[in-house]
């Protein structure tokens, strides 16, 4: 274009608007090169990739590329990188796994997504639970035990606590007296009279003679320690009275106000390695034993 020393002196196309003539100068060379390169690129692209929409389908392109395929390849690549570590997780027992800082960190990071998918719905993304509904996993109070193997067991088989309703067994004054006792016990101010009433009412059978829980934990009842500061179903007097009166996991048809405390089993839904890695994460929330 710049070769034209007098660009006005080429013929025009015959069109003229307001004294401006359209000349027959060719477009600049770089522009022509870009133009040809563009349409050639389009044709190559159309041949290689899915592009032209048809009535019910579209052309597939000779590369057979799809977004889903690309995604699956990326997932496979990621799985291949993780495979040797997952193998190690599968082979190691809890103690060895918790002692290996690198692998523990791998497990905790890998479990983040699994926890988000399977656990956070109830227990919260940081394991903080929901007061009165779902237990907090970041404290050190464990109904079934906070060591690595027990956590694995809880996730694999699930848990279902049970406590009978006492509304028909104990009179209202007795229930109120029990509530007074457990509130005092959690503050470390339990009285001998209260403890005597607690034992007479038959609570010690599950919660232990000193109300510290764990009497029949081996049976999986999940009887809580009533002397610590943690409350599974809320710490207000109203909450405590309701738990004593209506129990836990009674048949809701018979006892509508009963507490529901069911942890589903994840055996079969999650792989054993995934459960192990979840256990590491739960253990590392801060309360692991």
């Amino acid at each position: 274009m710049a070769k034209q020393n007098k660009p006005q002196q080429v013929p025009d196309t015959g069109y003229e608007w307001d004294g401006i003539r359209e000349l027959t100068n060719p477009p600049p060379r770089w522009w022509m090169i870009s133009f040809h390169a563009s349409w050639i690129f389009c044709i190559v692209y159309f041949v290689l990739y899915p592009s032209i929409p048809l009535v019910t389908d579209h052309t597939k392109g000779i590369l057979g590329w799809t977004q889903v395929k690309e995604f699956k390849e990326a997932v496979a690549e990621n799985d291949a990188i993780k495979a040797p570590y997952l193998k190690q997780v599968a082979e190691m027992d809890g103690q060895a796994l918790m002692a290996d800082a690198g692998l523990r960190n791998f497990a905790e990071s890998s479990a983040k997504a699994i926890f988000g998918d399977s656990c956070a719905g109830c227990h919260g993304s940081g394991g903080e639970g929901a007061p009165g509904l779902f237990p907090n996993l970041s404290d050190d109070a464990w109904l079934y035990g906070g060591d690595f193997d027990t956590i694995v067991e809880s996730i694999t088989d699930g848990r279902q606590g049970s406590m009978p309703a006492h509304i028909d067994e104990i009179d209202d004054a007795g229930i109120n007296k029990l509530a007074d006792f457990v509130i005092a016990a959690s503050e470390g101010k339990a009285t001998p009279e209260g403890l005597a009433h607690f034992n007479e009412s038959g609570c010690a059978g599950c919660h232990g003679e000193n109300a510290a829980g764990g009497a029949i934990n081996d049976l999986g009842s999940g009887a809580a320690n009533l002397t610590d500061a943690i409350w599974r179903f809320g710490n207000s007097r109203e909450d405590i009275l309701r738990t004593i009166r209506y129990g836990v996991n009674e048949d809701p048809d018979d006892v509508p106000n009963t507490r529901i405390a069911i942890m589903p089993a994840f055996d079969g839904k999650l792989s054993p390695e995934a459960i192990k890695m979840l256990a590491v994460k739960v253990h590392e929330f801060g309360g692991g034993k």
Partner: protein
Amino acid sequence: MSEQDQKEIEALYTDAHHWHINAGDETIHAKRMSGRFRTYKWYAASLWLSFFILPYFRIEDHQAILFDIPHRQFHLGSLTIWPQDVWMLSLVLILLAITLFAVTAVAGRVWCGYFCFQTIWTDVFTWLEDKIEGNPIQRRKLEAAAWTVQKLSKKLVKHSLWILISILTGVTFTAYFTDAYQLWIDLVTIQAPLLAWVTIGFFIFFTYVFAGFMREQVCFWLCPYARIQSVMVDKDTELPTYDLARGEPRGKVKRGNDNNQRGDCIDCRLCVGVCPTGVDIREGMQEGCITCGMCIDACDSIMDKVNRPRGLIRYASQKELSGETLPPVFKRPRVITYSFILLLSIAGIIYGLTHIPPVELSVVHERQPLFTQMSNGSIQNRYTIKAVNKTPNKLTFRLHVTGLEGVTIKMPDGDIITLQPEGVIPFHVFLRATPAQLKKKKTKIHFILETMNTTDKIKIKKKSVFIGPKK
């Protein structure tokens, strides 16, 4: 439109007609002459030899200059720069920019004329061209001649040498980012990673095209520097300048004629002939002038021949030409301002290089939950700590916390942290305090890491918070 306006517009058009735009339609075949500035240019160009040599130096067990992108470490001699220290890069960039501004204010486009890779590589390419195809007249003839075996062989030799230089350039550049010796082995055995091939290919292509074909077009149309130089020079700036008063009216020297009526310029156009960008310096300062001084060499040689004093074209400022005296360099406001910024950034870089922390510590307070009540009623906070050991040795630290009286620390391996020189493994720290110890909801605390061996004490402090229930 008034008559006055009409006249002004016509004047504009006359000017525009006179204006020559170099859009690369014709290859500029510049004549090569020896001279003072030619020698300077070679000296300056030879500095670029270090670019080709430096990647092969080694220090300790690694390359002396290595930009190790996969490991995110930059090695400069025995110094290792981590991504955390990259704030210094901004100072380096400021330093480079201000140096460019300052030099431009004092002496124009010194960078372009003597140091720029575009200038130097083009100069070497055209030097080869000159050696193989002959001087500009022979080159133009060869260009127009029909294809013969001789023409073909000349072209073949030239392009092979150009490509050889391009390959060397590409490989050398890549060698700054990976082990140079290993790179050569991988290239020769065709086992280099794809990225290396792509980088080298990219550099070969652009070296060959930019230095072999586009040449001054890059300076005219791709480089922004030419476009902004007008705001960086002033009347004090020393630039290659044609002494208009002395030179005009120009005219050819004729035997027997009285040449006294004429100026000193004999209109031989040698200044244009030697210009690598093809500008006519007699038209004044312009975007095409890279201030290389080739025209000064050419004009001086002619002035010697016609027995006139040298310096018709010379490094001079506008003030000098109009007879004013030039203020001393360090009394010019621009120079003072630039020097001040320059000193600040140099001071910052020196401070940064001498104060690279041996260990980088980051403490993240867990936000969900912000705190947890434990079974004995105490409050626990969870922190994730990442500590990067930048030294080549294993370091052992003791961790303690200040700012909260009576806080207890729980860590996987006690309060002792061992940091290996490579790799970062984050770990959790749990702090516990009783509600009585907490004066308010949010307590400011500090994590302190201290080395246990007393010989080379390292102490790092990091701020964080301890959060408890509402008071």
